[in-house]
């Protein structure tokens, strides 16, 4: 009994040690003073290379804005927290950023599951959050303070299906996806749906788990189904090996992938075996447009490596946020939220960004061909029924028509 009381006493001491604060009255945001922006991502876990790239992009954008005099003279102060890639920690660090660091807006996370864990905290505290690259449709459905600057899984899956059916004239496709990743599963489902509706046939569906190193079992099964293309919507770590083993098994069909492939390590892992494969992506470093070339040159000058798509999206998320703050004239939360929601035709590195009524970015995707250690621009595929410029033509009315498959229906598992 005494021991129990002592344990309670300990807990009470802990209470007493922490400062307490006055409840209520604290309004979020202001129209003067420096702007605190929280960035959270995986900086020490398994997907830390994604978190690091995004962080680089965010910080570079913030520095550019600050050097140019800030937003209406207000400097941006980016506060970074590491969530180790765990959903639980993501929710905790976002609580910290909001309540301890008093950030006025949040940028993050890369992985949709971490964004899903953290977004309710932002929504509850009414702090606008922009995810640079969480592509699962559910993320922005958490609430009206949650936005993103990337396209969503249904669209990316559709892009590759169209490319396979129309450009590559493929009739039979096999799919090898990462079972552990909602991203990969999302792409898989929407590729399958689009490809079959375009008259194609899925001849084999195989899966693996993140961290796997041997895929010969799955690939042998795929080989016996004899597909024209193999869709592999995974991350570069496994994809590099998959590509390698595909060639070792003598499979000639090209691999198709998504933005998860985009990392410098892909080339070291896959080497020459990657030649002739295609991916869909947010942007291309080869794009001759001066804005992109300036971004690529600046990034390379600053970090010494070429920016991947996540760096570009991190950069864009910061720029979109800054643009919204400038238009709102304040970081007061409701005004800032409305300003982000009204973003249209923002000239980002990853294309012209417009936010639709579901708080998703509407923008085209590019298809890139892999050859000799480089991504080569192949074609651009725009959201259904509209070109990117018309997608954002309605200034006040949200561009409903341009939204890809309705997320509600779309996210139901295809079984």
């Amino acid at each position: 009994m005494k021991r129990i009381l002592f344990a309670l006493f300990l807990i009470s001491v802990l209470f007493a040690n922490f400062a307490c604060e006055r409840r209520g009255g604290a309004t979020n945001g202001s129209s003067s003073g420096p702007i605190a922006v929280g960035y959270y991502g995986d900086l020490s876990g398994r997907t830390s290379s994604f978190g690091q790239s995004t962080k680089n992009g965010v910080e570079m954008a913030a520095d550019e804005i600050n050097k140019a005099g800030g937003i209406d003279g207000r400097q941006i102060h980016v506060i970074t927290e590491d969530d180790q890639g765990e959903p639980n920690k993501a929710a905790t660090v976002v609580t910290k950023l909001i309540n301890q660091d008093k950030v006025q807006a949040l940028l993050g996370e890369v992985a949709s599951s971490n964004s899903l864990a953290a977004a309710p905290k932002a929504q509850e505290a009414k702090v606008p959050m922009i995810s640079p690259s969480s592509t699962n449709p559910q993320v922005t459905q958490v609430g009206d303070y949650i936005f993103r600057v990337c396209f969503i899984d249904p669209f990316q899956g559709e892009v590759m299906a169209k490319f396979a059916a129309n450009n590559l004239k493929a009739k039979k496709a096999a799919i090898l996806y990462d079972f552990n990743s909602d991203y990969s599963r999302g792409l898989y489902q929407f590729f399958k749906r689009s490809f079959t509706s375009l008259g194609g046939q899925i001849v084999s569906e195989q899966s693996y788990t993140q961290g796997d190193r041997d895929f010969s079992g799955q690939l042998t099964a795929i080989r016996s189904a004899n597909p024209d293309v193999i869709y592999v919507p995974g991350y570069y770590g496994e994809v590099g090996v998959i590509s390698n083993q595909t060639k070792q098994l003598g499979i000639k069909a090209p691999l198709l992938g998504g933005d998860g492939w985009d990392a410098p390590q892909l080339w070291q892992l896959g080497g020459a075996s990657l030649n002739g494969n295609y991916i869909s992506n947010h942007y291309s470093v080869d794009d001759p447009s001066p804005a992109i070339q300036k971004f690529v040159a600046d990034y390379k000058g600053r970090y010494g490596i070429l920016p991947d798509a996540l760096a570009a999206l991190g950069y864009d998320s910061m720029k979109v946020l800054a643009d919204a703050i400038k238009r709102a004239g304040t970081t007061e939360n409701t005004k800032l939220r409305d300003a982000i929601a009204q973003t249209k035709d923002f000239p980002g590195v990853t294309g012209k960004i417009s936010i639709d009524k579901d708080r998703n970015a509407v923008k085209p995707a590019v298809v890139l061909k892999l050859q000799d250690g480089k991504f080569h621009y192949e074609t651009t595929i725009s959201p259904e029924g509209s070109t990117p410029s018309t997608a954002a033509s309605g200034s006040t009315a949200p561009s409903t028509a341009s939204a890809p498959a309705p997320p509600t229906k779309a996210s139901s598992p295809a079984q």
């Binding site: 021991r3 300990l10 006055r22 910290k96 599951s113 899903l116 699962n136 559910q138 999302g186 079984q415």
Partner: protein
């Protein structure tokens, strides 16, 4: 009679403390003042860690069976209870609301799903425990580890609980209409932490508990004394799993989002570090370990980035260091409390009085007083 009165007063104090603390941490605050939400969140997570550490201590610290799959049982409790809440509790809650009012109905439903989570985790513990606890040695470690991994894979395969995306509410179709309600607050979490401590304390100081300890000390001798070691090992394992399930249920209804990434191998290791740090076979030690290991990483956030990434290195080095210097954990089997402050040294182990059934009984509070 005075003991009963003392216990009653203790209960009232605990309940009042919990209610006060919870109000202090809530959005409204206590008399307009509150605890920063970030601290409140960490405190709630600490409560969950305490349940996990104290329950793992029962099987590992007191019974001497090394389990490294505690996070797996936590996952089972979390997913099964949240599954009940999301899919089957609405009707029950409506029906109960009509009878006893909304607040009580919600509490009853929550209690129901927590117990459901505990039950499922206990059944899983039984299924895993029977084959692996029949054998002596280290097999339990590997089997529990493998089991936790299998659980993770199975959960990933169930689309009704969100699969790889994570479990946030009813699927399919996911339309945000029903998300996991935040039933758990500090009254629940702190309350269950206290219940766990009290229950484990009472088990350890009962006949059953002494059977557990005898297995830890010498399994062969225990068997020679007529103790059915397998039965007691399984019993200990099942109780421990059930509490892990409770911790999971609380976690799910606190976090309102479940993802298998939160129940990985490293989470089990974290719980082990808690009890190793605190002392295997010490309830207060486990509580202390849980507090330190949950709060320490948050304090370490203030370290510069490079040093922060070394925190896991520090953890593992700590583990090795403790094993080299004090293999029984920092606290060993010692409990500490107010009485511990009064007299620094406890009586030697051999002095214990012998109970009715011929099993040595560790001192209880009352007997302790007689000798003090």
């Amino acid at each position: 009679m005075p003991t009963l009165l003392k216990r009653f007063i203790g209960l009232v104090v605990v309940v009042l403390l919990l209610i006060g603390a919870n109000a202090f941490m809530s959005r409204e605050g206590l008399f307009g003042f509150g605890f920063p939400y970030y601290y409140a969140e960490i405190l709630n997570l600490t409560g969950i860690s305490i349940i996990l550490a104290v329950s793992l201590n029962l099987i590992t610290g007191f019974t001497g069976q090394f389990s490294i799959g505690h996070a797996g049982f936590m996952a089972i409790g979390a997913y099964s209870s949240v599954f009940m809440t999301v899919y089957y509790s609405e009707g029950a809650e409506k029906w109960l609301t009509a009878m006893v009012g909304a607040t009580l109905a919600q509490s009853l439903v929550f209690l129901g799903v927590i117990l459901f989570g505990a039950l499922i985790a206990a059944i899983a513990g039984l299924v895993v425990g029977i084959p692996s606890l029949r054998l002596r040695g280290d097999y339990l470690a590997i089997v529990t580890l493998g089991f936790a991994e299998i659980i993770r894979i199975i959960i990933l395969n169930i689309d009704r609980v969100g699969g790889a995306t994570g479990f946030r509410g009813r699927v399919p179709p996911w339309d945000g209409r029903l998300i996991i309600p935040q039933y758990a607050n500090f009254i629940w979490i702190g309350g269950f932490a206290v219940i766990t401590i009290v229950v484990v304390y009472n088990i350890v100081n009962s006949d059953i508990g002494r059977a557990f300890i005898s297995i830890r000390e010498d399994e062969l001798a225990a068997e020679a004394m007529g103790i059915n070691t397998t039965r007691y090992k399984v019993l200990s394992f099942v109780i421990s799993s059930a509490f892990a399930g409770i911790a999971g249920a609380l976690f799910g209804h606190f976090r309102q989002f479940l993802h298998t990434n939160d129940f990985q191998f490293i989470r089990s290791i974290e719980i082990i570090i808690m009890i190793v740090l605190g002392g295997m076979g010490s309830i207060t030690g486990a509580v202390l370990g849980a507090i330190v290991i949950t709060i320490l990483p948050e304090l370490l956030r203030k370290l510069p980035g490079d040093l922060y990434s070394y925190r896991l290195v520090i953890y593992s080095a700590l583990l090795i260091l403790i094993m080299l210097t004090r293999p029984q954990g920092v606290m060993g089997a010692k409990e500490f409390g107010i009485s511990w402050l009064k007299r620094a040294q406890r009586r030697p182990e051999g002095d214990k009085p012998v109970g009715e059934k011929g099993v040595p009984i560790a001192q209880t509070d009352e007997q302790g007083k007689e000798h003090a």
